[in-house]
Amino acid sequence: MRLPKFQYLEPRELEEALEMRALYGAQSALLAGGTDLLVRMKQRLMKPSFLISLKNLRELSGIRIQGKEMLIGAGTPLKEVAGSALVNLHFPALAEAARAVGAYTIQQVRGTIGGNLCQDTRCLFYNQSAFWRSGRQACHKAGGKICYAREGSDRCRSTNQSDGATALMALQARVTLRNSQGLRDLSLEELFTMKGETPLDLAPNEILTQIRLPMDRPGGASAYERIAYRSAIDFPVASAGVWLESEGGTISKARIAVGCMGNAPLLILQAGESLEGRPLEDTQALAKAARIAMDQASAFAVENVGATVEYRVEMVSVLVERALRRASARAAEEKRGEGS
């Protein structure tokens, strides 16, 4: 498969890249690892006139702790995120999500955490070759007025299948978006628009430079779970990220994010709240929270990523419960570690 033609730009530093973004705006696309972008360009889902390569921008890469935050450069390869001692120690859910993307040897070497977070929403009726799509009318995502995933839908129902996004949502990540004038600081809830046609609040003149995770939360533990047809290469058909904060064996705060159900990872507040004040080892409470997450997420899912909706929805409860059990075990282990 051939790529469409474009002009290739190689900024040497971030400022230069931001000026190119300011100049070329929506005609430009950012090339990091390319494992998602180049596929969509080959399928003619995108035809940018200018491709801005981020490969020389060293300032976009690296993981460090600064003040009360962990800073992860958006251009950090997934392999580095998965293998980082800092990430594995403080936010194992993110390491688990990075490890689950694509194939261990390939996408993770080139693919970046920023690219994974910003990957477009997907749909079986959209992410196909130009030839396949040429036989049908354009759907909402392609600028038309119909939806093949749900009959009569007045908007795009494409699905966010990013592993990184679901884990980062549970971990309460924030992102830094830069343009040539300044920067914006958004929570993930703000980054995602919940619109399938334009899933990200990322302006054509902006570049995602950093992902930031709050570190001032003692007693935190996390885990990520996903289910896919195959353990390698495939996108997940359901996923869950959880974050638990506990004090003296009692859960003080919980964040439960469900992936692959809506246009964005879904933060199920009610499920998290149901765990507050519960002991870490209260498995019934964990199971109940998982069922709440499933019930709420079920309203969003449509038949468009492979497995049946019924199966995917049921798996939400299974995956949330598994993730909660593992996070709870991690929290308990940490508590024992402190006691000795």
Binding site: R2, K5, Y8, T35, V39, Q43, S53, V109, R110, S231
Partner: protein, 171 residues
């Protein structure tokens, strides 16, 4: 659009080429350099048949722009055999009958090579994980895993020039 210069070291040979910006590394290897050992299967990063080493790391040549490899060292399956004959991995694939139709073989061997460069003594699980991004539609995975494991088990960390090295270290 006009062609732009690309400096590349392919299988230890320094090259200066003129390429279109939208050419992938795979297109340059196969069509400009006639290195057709690297295969195009799916063209979208799913099958792994186009796996090559870029500065010693495995990448999908079909999803790597040629210009992104500017100044890098590329190793394809053609670059494994030396004056002394085939690479131990290639010998092992033959000995174990790990080749059926052969289409996935270059990608499998390069993915395995990348693993052995990083970890000369992998466990079976590491091997399975390393080739998890490569599809063999003849489904001959068992023999492939055996072939890679056999090379790994021969490895003596003290011995020079063993499997865990390229002929010349990438820059």
């Amino acid at each position: 659009m006009s062609r732009v210069p690309l400096k590349l070291k392919v299988n230890n040979e320094e090259l200066e080429l003129l390429v279109e910006p939208h050419w992938t590394l795979l297109e340059v290897l196969r069509e400009e350099l006639d290195l057709t050992g690297t295969k195009e299967g799916c063209g979208e990063g799913v099958c792994g048949a186009c796996t090559v080493l870029l500065d010693g790391k495995p990448v999908r040549a079909c999803l790597t722009l040629a210009l992104e490899a500017q100044g890098c060292s590329v190793t394809t399956v053609e670059g494994l055999a030396g004056e002394k004959g085939l690479d131990p991995l290639q010998e092992s694939f033959i000995r174990h009958g790990a080749v059926q139709c052969g289409f996935c073989t270059p990608g499998m061997i390069m993915a395995a090579k990348a693993l052995l460069l990083e970890n000369p003594c992998p466990q079976e699980e590491d091997i399975r994980k390393a080739i998890s991004g490569n599809i063999c539609r003849c489904t001959g995975y068992a023999k492939i895993v055996e072939a890679i494991a056999a090379v790994a088990s021969q490895h003596d960390p003290a011995a020079k020039g063993s499997v865990g090295t390229l002929k010349e270290e990438p820059a």
